[in-house]
Point group: C2
Chain length 334, copies 2
């Protein structure tokens, strides 16, 4: 088998020069690079990933840290779209990915510690943002490169990729006010997450500006809980004219409940939600949504972690991805 030493001998350079060319070090002169590459081609030398890794002291792998929670979080189409963006950029750059698999916060921390201990990743992408996050503390202490998909509430200079969720929520709410809605219900999952806080804030501010009274409830992402809550409102004749949900999954459960209560959308009640996906597009009925462009979030996070790992100059610390309101049959003029 051809080795780096064989190539070095033929090229009349040191083995470390060959290593540097394999690892993509651009400080080697172009003529030397070309000479070495020509010999590698002639000898059919395939620099295997492990050799390259050992040379560069890099695992060429990005760790992906999931938000903790129910098993359904992983099935959330938002996450899949984000991941497909991350995968694409990693693949182009010759990186693999490895993701946390635990749902319990303590177990996720162990997984991350293990990845760091075994040098099995070069950097991390966090798929969430929350205050006082122990994982962020660990990464900061050990100076491990990471990018947060979510609001930058952590150390200064934390690189983050996010939507402007306050503005997106304000725009959706304003659109619904213009349709004639005055009686709103906003159903949100746990207020621990920054994205939920911002969506609630944009909604509340817009309603208050319009002299309307916001009604926000935080419900567990659990079909029985959502069913009981809406059934009670229905029996007390206190249902609003529009239900906004903070996420596709809650919206899906709300639609199922309204179907069971024989309430027709948009005739009897209307609905709108955040995080556009095929689930909303082909729902019963198709839903008005805020498209947060999750694949673009993922691609941007992927590019940002590559910049950090290549120690390129970081021109932008907080990336903001645009949002768009997609109107479908679940909302109409009252």
């Amino acid at each position: 088998m051809t080795t780096i030493k064989d190539i070095a001998k033929l090229a009349n350079v040191s083995p470390s020069t060959v290593s540097r060319v394999i690892s993509g070090n651009s400080r080697i002169s172009l003529s030397t690079q070309n000479k070495i590459k020509k010999i590698m081609t002639e000898l059919d030398y395939q620099p295997n990933k492990a050799a390259r890794t050992l040379v560069t002291q890099k695992s060429k792998t990005i760790g992906i840290i999931h938000k903790n929670g129910e098993f359904t979080t992983l099935q959330n189409p938002f996450i899949i779209d984000v991941l497909s963006g991350v995968f694409l950029v990693c693949k182009i750059n010759g990186y693999g990915t490895i993701a946390t698999t635990a749902t319990d916060p303590i177990d996720i921390i162990s997984e991350v510690k293990e990845m760091i201990f075994y040098h099995s990743v070069d950097g991390f992408i966090l798929l969430y943002s929350k205050e006082n996050d122990e994982i962020i503390n660990i990464l900061e202490k050990q100076s491990i490169p990471y990018v947060v998909i979510g609001k930058p509430i952590h150390a200064q200079n934390t690189v983050s990729v996010d939507n402007d969720n306050i503005t997106a929520s304000a725009q959706l709410t304003q659109y619904l006010i213009e349709l004639g809605h005055i009686d709103f219900l906003f159903i949100a999952e746990s207020e621990r997450f920054e994205v939920v806080k911002d969506r609630v804030k944009g909604h509340e501010d817009t309603l208050k500006n319009a002299q309307l009274i916001p009604h926000v409830v935080y419900l567990q992402m659990n079909q029985a809980v959502i069913f009981e809550y809406l059934k009670q409102l229905h029996y007390e004749h206190r249902l609003p004219t529009i239900i906004i949900t903070s996420d596709t999954m809650i919206n899906h459960m709300v639609l199922s409940t309204l179907y069971e209560l024989s309430l027709h959308i948009p005739k009897d009640i209307q609905t709108a939600t955040f995080n556009d996906s095929y689930i909303n597009a082909f729902a019963s009925p198709p839903q008005t949504t805020v498209d947060i462009h999750p694949q673009l979030l993922g691609e941007t996070a992927g590019k940002a972690i590559m910049q950090l790992l290549n120690q390129e100059q970081i021109e932008q610390v907080n990336h903001i991805i645009q949002t768009d309101i997609i109107t479908r049959t679940s909302t109409q003029r009252l």
Copy 2:
């Protein structure tokens, strides 16, 4: 930095013995293993993944090959559940994963060839099974270990993990006959895939045995196509009493269409589908499904590829995972 040579010297063994202990070779005597591990602990030696890889000539990475198709294939909850099973087993065994990202067949083949060329994976898991698959041909020619999630129609001794889709479909159809249905419509996606062929076969055989006439159509997984098809049947008063779909995604589109046509489930028409997930469980209304235990499919495929890589004796070539019918409000006695 501590090296393998330092440890070998202190343990009074050869460096290759240390390497073998690091790579988990069990032929080294337990006392030697313990001696080396004790020294590694004392010197705080962390065998990094790249070093271990170079020693073992393995990348410790499994390649995952997606079925080609629309972007929505990746968002299919079935795939996510399968992957979570695969990830779990890989992680436990110290393996990472890398997945194809292309949707075009030609591009997927390029991705797979690249992974093989750069030795960036040790083996593959294919998330589909179809006849005359070029990827299978490549893997067979190059003797690369792989496991197929789907029907074993390839080379002899191909390790596969699958459900018994013929029996599962027969059981679902029999259950629906017992509810009083005699007028069935089975909507399936492309007949190129083995899983679809088997589900159609189990359905047709059961209906024929009951002296009933099967009605199977293959439709693109496209909301407009499905809408036009069902609208036409509706206007011609030719809708069946039950629509079975071969997959969650088609079911989701059928429900959206029935909602738009103001047809109530289960009052006006009934529905049932394969591949149970939260999408069916919280649909409008909750769907009767066949649970194919996708996470268990993934875990079993993960364990099988580990056995192949560890060159353990393969006791079982074709693994069959059980299926269960879950009855919900979308079906009831006629």
